[in-house]
Structures are given as structure tokens and as C-alpha cells.
């Protein structure tokens, strides 16, 4: 069995590859942006007359959903490109999208719940939008479960691409359900609010000033930066697994 390649220092290269400069810049921008948007939302923006301080949670609540949207959207794109091109990279992007998106949508649910307690007088209600957001979280949690259950690597990548594409429908349902099912009590801040909405407020220039930077941050910088780090982590995990198999077979 002397034909097998020996372990060489070059096999460890993936682990040593330094962070690309762009990623470092992105990380710094994201960290500063996060601090900045927190300042805008928590201090600079005016206090809501009707709801008081609790309204400030909105500056994280809504942007975090859009962050999840970007991340899950990249899972969809990664899945589609993986099925067409069969490059591992796209599957890793899809996986990173699910993990980051799931974290963001949990933030979205938690902040919403904290806001709902004083405003709706309940932590949770089976409102169409709340329900669809919960379904979305469960679907992507199932993605991670299913992924862990498939051993064969090629099969896992193809299957999970398919599941990631199917799962995206739940994101679209969550996004559009307010426009389809009118009996929701969830307020819409941008655009016309449904008739029964409870706890809406006007998008005054002060609100918009604090919202736009936060939205940009969560929509673009947070998911991209976190996902990039997650993809690099996955690269290392796979390199480590390769090394393990190699070491065991020697």
C-alpha cells in the first residue's frame, strides 16, 4: 500500500490561509456598523409617543428578518448553482446561509415576542405572520437535522440543495402573508397597514433615519460577513476530515 500519498505540510494549507483583506474590511465595517446602528436606534432616534422605549426594538426586529431573508436567499442561490455546476463551494454557502438565517430569524422572533408582551399583552399569538415565521424557522431547523442524517457527501450536497430550494417558499410566504391574509394584527410600517393591525406607528423621518442604516447593515453586511466566516470554518472542517481519513488509512 505504498502508493498512498503521505501526509504533507501542504495539506494543512487551508487552515493557514490568512483571511482575505476584503473579509477583514467587511468584519470591521460590520462591527462598527452594528455599534452605530445600535446607537441610532437606542439613543439618537426619538422616543415613540404612544409606545415609549419599547418601540426601539423595531430597529432590530425588522432588519433581522431581512437579514434572514438575505441569508436564506443565498441558500436558495447556492442550492440552484450547486445543482447546475456541482462545485462544493456553493453547497457550503447554502449551509452557511441556513445557519446564519436561522440565527437571524430567531432574533426576529425573540425581539418580536418581547415587543408584543407590552403592546399586544401577550408573548405569542397564532397570527398568520407569526405562524408563518415560526414555520420558516422550523423548516430550516429541519434542514440541519436532515443534513446531519446523510452520510454520503455528494448525496448530502445534492439533497440539501433540493431541500434548501423547497424551504425558501416558507420565506416568501412569511414575507407576503400580510398582503394576502388581511386578518393579521401584525403592523406594517412601510406601506399601508392592515385594518386590524395593533401597535403600528408612523414612519416619520426620525424613524426612517435610524432604520435605513440598520436595514442596510442587516440586509447586506451582517449576513455576508457572518456567512463568509462560516464558509471558511466549513472549509477547515472538511480539510480536517480529509486529513483524518488520510491519517487513518495510512
Amino acid at each position: 500500500m505504498g502508493e498512498k500519498p503521505k501526509l504533507a505540510a501542504s495539506d494543512l494549507q487551508i487552515e493557514r490561509r490568512p483571511q482575505p483583506r476584503l473579509l477583514r474590511i467587511l468584519t470591521v465595517i460590520t462591527a462598527l456598523g452594528f455599534a452605530g446602528s445600535l446607537y441610532l436606534g437606542l439613543a439618537a432616534a426619538g422616543t415613540d409617543i404612544l409606545q415609549g422605549e419599547i418601540q426601539r426594538i423595531f430597529y432590530i426586529h425588522m432588519p433581522s428578518f431581512f437579514g434572514a431573508f438575505t441569508a436564506f436567499g443565498l441558500t436558495l442561490v447556492g442550492g440552484l448553482i450547486y445543482l447546475a455546476r456541482r462545485r462544493e463551494k456553493w453547497d457550503r454557502i447554502a449551509l452557511a446561509g441556513v445557519e446564519v438565517g436561522l440565527a437571524f430569524s430567531l432574533i426576529n422572533l425573540l425581539t418580536g415576542s418581547i415587543w408584543a408582551r407590552p403592546i399586544w399583552n401577550t408573548w405569542w399569538t397564532w397570527d398568520p405572520r407569526l405562524t408563518s415565521a415560526a414555520i420558516m424557522c422550523l423548516t430550516y431547523a429541519a434542514y440541519l437535522m436532515l443534513r446531519a442524517g446523510i452520510d454520503d457527501l455528494d448525496r448530502r450536497r445534492a439533497f440539501m440543495s433540493v431541500y434548501g430550494i423547497l424551504a425558501f417558499v416558507t420565506v416568501l410566504i412569511t414575507l407576503f402573508i400580510i398582503r394576502i391574509v388581511p386578518e393579521t394584527i401584525h403592523p406594517v410600517i412601510v406601506g399601508a397597514s392592515p385594518q386590524n393591525a395593533q401597535g403600528g406607528f408612523e414612519a416619520t423621518s426620525g424613524v426612517v433615519m435610524a432604520l435605513i442604516p440598520s436595514l442596510l447593515l442587516w440586509l447586506i453586511f451582517m449576513p455576508l460577513t457572518l456567512m463568509w466566516h462560516r464558509v471558511r470554518l466549513e472549509n477547515r472542517i472538511e480539510a480536517l476530515n480529509r486529513l483524518k481519513t488520510q491519517a487513518l488509512s495510512e
Partner: protein, 225 residues
């Protein structure tokens, strides 16, 4: 040279029907489960007659989704044990035709069970479920379950945990179906105004079509070697 689409779909349905006609495994399995589930719910809600009447559509749909999962798991296990799927894949047929054939077979078996369940529940729960719209909603919902289930069962049967993973993978995705179907059925049974249940039924039909088309296109990626 590929076998024409319709011919292959028909051949797969015929094969599944013949196998089921000889073994009578799937329908009897799902049928028995349905009966048990309806009885279990009936006993669980026995104390409160009003609660039982209110819960009819919930009982109907929860039973149907679990019966579907049971049938799909068993059906795919048969295919795996007897090498049916591998043989079908070796034939020069389009993957979408395989999907459609399997889907229609699964749909047919579950629909039989569902249509037996409706009169049974009418008797046991004292609500008339034998209404054309209720039957229509049931058929659409069952088709939706089969459309997603056929793809996901094919996928999970190739995994390590097999049977255990199908409910995990399938339940969250069919929740929108369950939700709209329950709403439509409840509205119909309680004599709500047309607009109320029609919007739910419309949404059920819309997501069924969306998922059906997606699964039809994606099926070839879960059966490749």
C-alpha cells in the same frame, strides 16, 4: 430512445397498483392507522362534546398527514427492499415521469383512505363531512401531501435514519398546507361566509401547485447515482 412520458407514467402507476392489489399492504396499513387515530382522538375528546365537534377538521387533517407519512415510508421501504426504484431508474424514462407515476400512486392510496375516513368521521363526530367542498378540499390537501411526500420520501429513504427523518423533513414544509386546509374545512363545517373559507382554499390550491411544480423539476436530483 426514451419511452414516451405518458406511457412511462402509466406503467409506473400500473405497477404500483398491481403490487398494492396483490399485497394490500399500504391501504390496509393506512386504513387501520386512520381508524385508530380517529378513535384515539374521539376518546381523548370524549368528555367535552363541543370540543369534539370543534376539533373535527383538526382531527381529520392531523390523521391524514400522519397516515400519509406512514404510507410513504412503507411504500419507499418496499421499493428499496425489492430494488424497484433502482430498476425503474435503470430504464430509459424521464425522471419527472417516475415522480409523476409515484406521486399519482401515493395520491391514489391516500385518497382512498381519506374518502373512507370522511363518512367514518361523520358517524363518530356528528358533523356532516360528506359535502362536495369538503371532499374537494380533502382531495387537494392529500394531493399536496403526496406531491411533497413523494420527493421527500425518496430523499429520506437514502439516508441513515430513514423512516425517522421523513416526518422531520416533511412536517414543517406541509404546515402551510395543514393550516390552510384546516381553516377551509373548519369554515365549511361551521357554515362561515363563502369569502372566508374560499381564501383559505385558494391558498391551499396555490401552494399545492407551487410545490408540485418545484418537486417535479427537482425530483431528478434526488434519484441520481
Amino acid at each position: 430512445m426514451k419511452t414516451p412520458f405518458i406511457t412511462s407514467v402509466a406503467a409506473i402507476i400500473k405497477k404500483d397498483l398491481r403490487a398494492e392489489f396483490r399485497a394490500r399492504e399500504l391501504v390496509s396499513l393506512m386504513g387501520l392507522f386512520t381508524l385508530l387515530s380517529v378513535l384515539v382522538f374521539s376518546f381523548a375528546l370524549e368528555l367535552d362534546r363541543e370540543a369534539r365537534e370543534e376539533a373535527v377538521s383538526g382531527v381529520l387533517w392531523v390523521t391524514l398527514i400522519f397516515a400519509s407519512i406512514l404510507g410513504l415510508n412503507r411504500g419507499m421501504a418496499q421499493e428499496r427492499d425489492q430494488g424497484g426504484l433502482d430498476a425503474t431508474l435503470a430504464a430509459p424514462v424521464s425522471r419527472s415521469a417516475i415522480y409523476l407515476g409515484k406521486l399519482l400512486g401515493n395520491f391514489f392510496f391516500t385518497a382512498i383512505v381519506a374518502l373512507v375516513m370522511l363518512p367514518l368521521m361523520t358517524v363518530l363526530y356528528g358533523k356532516n363531512l360528506l359535502d362536495a367542498w369538503v371532499i374537494g378540499t380533502t382531495v387537494i390537501g392529500v394531493f399536496g401531501f403526496a406531491a411533497i411526500g413523494t420527493l421527500l420520501a425518496t430523499l429520506t429513504v437514502q439516508t441513515r435514519a430513514r423512516e425517522a427523518l421523513l416526518p422531520i423533513a416533511m412536517l414543517p414544509i406541509v404546515l402551510p398546507f395543514l393550516l390552510t386546509a384546516v381553516r377551509a374545512t373548519t369554515g365549511l363545517l361551521n357554515g362561515a361566509v363563502e369569502r372566508e373559507w374560499q381564501s383559505s382554499l385558494g391558498m391551499l390550491a396555490a401552494i399545492t401547485v407551487i410545490y408540485f411544480v418545484m418537486c417535479l423539476l427537482l425530483y431528478r436530483y434526488v434519484v441520481e447515482e
